[in-house]
Amino acid sequence: MSPLAALLVRDLRIAVRAGGGALIGVLFFLVVVTLTPFAIGPDLVLLKRIGPAILWLAALLASLLALDRLFSGDHDDGSLDLILMGRAPLELTVAVKGLAHWLTTGLPLVICAPLIGLLLNLDPPAQVALMLTLLVGTPALTFIGLIGAAIAVTLRRGGLLLAVIVLPLTVPILIFGVAAANAAIVGPTPFGTPFTILCALTLASLVVGPFAAAAALRQEIE
């Protein structure tokens, strides 16, 4: 098995075992979205109008939840030292950790979104559009989060700092993600315009995230 495949398998295993972070994000997502209709009341028109925004906000916060352990878990038990001594480029190693994180926290959100969309009075075409925007947008949340996780790696309680660093950077993704979903539901702008920009933001973060996070890790580890 190649070094990167070994790392991916290990991170996936840890995430789904007891004490791993995989289910926490999805549960948080489901709880927030389920509670929203109770808080707002049975106004179906209003729910339909703000549904995509609620789902996107919940997904954003849920993907932050397990992020602070992404590198600090490996730092605390000494694994990060050994990972730095591996022969794979650190940027790729970091990207693989991001991929494992997205597969265990981002992808479950995407799969849950259509089901939970029913609670917010979203009809099937709207659910598909929303799912598509989440599928494209959540990797960007993870890979931008990598940077914050790497910067906060040596801090005991890095979670808050992580949120402060990461959330401002995710604003463009939130804007275009919700805009694309709304365009598909209420118009009048075409779905393609904000969706293409969302894709571009994701592609950029897939490149910038691992490089910035690897640079931060090299500095922090000393």
């Binding site: 098995m1 190649s2 070094p3 495949a5 070994a6 790392l7 398998v9 290990r10 295993r13 840890i14 075992r17 007891a18 004490g19 791993g20 605390d76 038990d77 000494g78 694994s79 030292d81 050994l82 990972i83 730095l84 001594m85 591996g86 022969r87 580890i221 000393e222």
Partner: protein
């Protein structure tokens, strides 16, 4: 194979830990780094492992793989065990063997450190000594020529110390080299010794109680 350090210096948090350290270790040789607490033994090993950038001086390796850095040809056995409690003993070892490339004989390595019967157990249930033995199994399962060992015998019982000594002797006989930091003997018959004796400029010597001087 020859690992050479010339005038190495290390700073942590703006304070000089050590300076002017020079040594050379050949393949088949072991270097024992000794010195009192805070003398910089662990820092020296972390510099060799590429985890701390030296403040001055240079490190070089002759006869190794020119494509790889020194750290990429070294194993580092630190104070932390680098194991995940949620994974089993065998899964932990298989991961590190896979990550360091050339997936080796993990079952044989577990047997060599006396953990053969515990392969399926979650690593969280191991004792401190058993976890250390699992870390040592990594050195055997994924061969790398340089071993950097930080207090390798701590938490090991008598039998495990003897077994580690035998493994180190095998590694040296195969042309590998070892740099070990330890307070006491590590069970190897002939070792070079590098004593880190900080000069009077060490911050610890300036403690008002004079404890550092008394301990020496």
């Amino acid at each position: 194979m020859r690992l050479t350090a010339a005038e190495l210096a290390c700073e942590r948090g703006g304070r000089e830990v050590f300076a002017g350290i020079s040594f050379a270790v050949e393949g088949g040789e072991a270097l024992l780094v000794s010195g009192r607490n805070g003398a910089g033994k662990s820092s020296l090993l972390r510099v060799l492992a590429g985890l701390i950038r030296p403040a001055a001086g240079r490190l070089s390796l002759e006869g190794g793989d020119p494509e790889l850095s020194i750290a990429e040809q070294a194993h580092y056995l630190g104070h932390q065990d680098a194991q995940k409690g949620a994974l089993s003993v065998a899964e932990n070892l298989r991961f590190w063997t896979g990550f360091f490339g050339r997936g080796g004989d993990t079952a044989g390595a577990l047997a060599a450190v006396g953990l053969g019967g515990l392969a399926g157990l979650p690593a969280a249930t191991l004792s401190a000594g058993q976890r250390r033995r699992l870390s040592i199994a990594r050195l055997i399962a994924a061969p790398r020529p340089i071993w950097l060992l930080d207090e390798p015998t701590s938490t090991l019982d008598r039998g495990a110390q003897d077994r580690l000594a035998a493994l180190m002797a095998t590694h040296l006989a195969g042309g590998g080299l070892i740099v070990a930091a330890s307070h006491g003997p590590i069970g190897l018959p002939a070792v070079k010794e590098l004593r880190l004796d900080p000069s009077a400029s060490s911050p610890l010597d300036e403690t008002p109680l004079g404890l550092a001087g008394a301990a020496r």
